[in-house]
């Protein structure tokens, strides 16, 4: 067994376990913290596949921004003090069957795919130098669109939470 394979299995196991804790934990704060662990294992997978730029962006955007936002909202709503009402057991069972069926479909579709063709491996594609060239070359217009999207999302978020105040006062 090669060292990369061992690392892969350790990371995959940690990722799946932390994902399971995320969706089953009673306390939302535990859910969020195990989601951080899951995102870090995914970042480690990116490093393993030599996608260094994405590994860094994943940590900064997900662990740094999105998770902090989640944690902020949960703390603000005091959700960890109010216990969540559980769904009915039959509904949970149906959810498990549905998710399992989806997994089955994915794996079954893998069986009937054509043979995969491997390109000659290129170690430089995950580096910021190469990605920057592509991002500001072929993908320049989508890249600029992203800034418009993020800007409008920011304005939208502020507007959504602000208009509420005015209505309450009126």
């Amino acid at each position: 067994m090669e060292i990369t394979e061992i690392i892969f299995y350790i990371l995959a196991f940690a990722g799946v376990v932390s994902a399971l804790v995320t969706v089953t934990a009673k306390n939302p704060v535990y859910s969020i913290l195990s989601l951080v662990v899951c995102f870090f294992t995914i970042s480690a997978h990116y490093v393993l596949m030599n996608a260094q730029f994405l590994a860094m962006v994943n940590i900064i955007v997900y662990a740094g921004a999105i998770i902090v936002l989640f944690l902020f909202v949960v703390m603000m709503m005091n959700l960890n003090e109010i216990p969540e009402m559980a769904k009915k057991l039959a509904w949970k069972l149906a959810a498990a069957v549905g998710a399992g069926g989806l997994l089955l479909v994915f794996v079954a579709s893998l069986k009937v795919t054509d043979d995969l063709i491997q390109a000659t491996p290129d170690e430089s594609i995950g580096m910021i130098h190469t990605l920057g060239q592509v991002l500001l070359g072929d993908f320049l217009v989508p890249f600029i669109m992203t800034s418009i999207l993020l800007n409008s999302a920011m304005i939208g978020a502020v507007l959504l939470t602000k208009r509420e105040n005015k209505l309450q006062k009126a």
Binding site: E2, F8, V23, L35, I42, M49, N58, A119, I125, L135
Partner: protein, 107 residues
């Protein structure tokens, strides 16, 4: 046919891992009532797809996959900002983020 993308790790193993993570996310969306946990499950599904895109990008030695992951991340960030703003607004009005309660509110 097995395609090795790392020494000893095939692309099929990454497809399995991504499919399992995606299925866990689907289970979370279907089985929880707290809207914030449902949001987190959606993030989990997005990350599973991102992982698979990077694996395929490495397999094909193509940068387009990784650029797409970059765009997915920015869309996810925008989605979370707006979604959590809506949740905060709902919580102020209804004092709950339980989706089963919220779905009964519509008249």
């Amino acid at each position: 046919m097995n395609v090795e993308i790392l020494s000893g790790v095939t692309v099929q193993q990454y497809i399995w891992l991504s499919a399992i993570l995606f299925a866990i996310g689907v289970f979370g969306v279907l089985s929880r009532r707290n809207a914030i946990i449902i949001f987190m499950s959606v993030e989990l599904m997005l990350n599973a797809v991102n992982l698979l895109l990077v694996a395929f990008s490495r397999m094909h030695a193509d940068t387009a996959g990784q650029v797409f992951v970059f765009f997915t991340m920015s869309v996810a960030a925008a989605e979370v900002a707006v979604g959590l703003a809506i949740l905060v607004m709902l919580y102020r009005n209804m004092k709950t983020v339980d989706i089963d309660v919220l779905s009964k509110i519509k008249e």
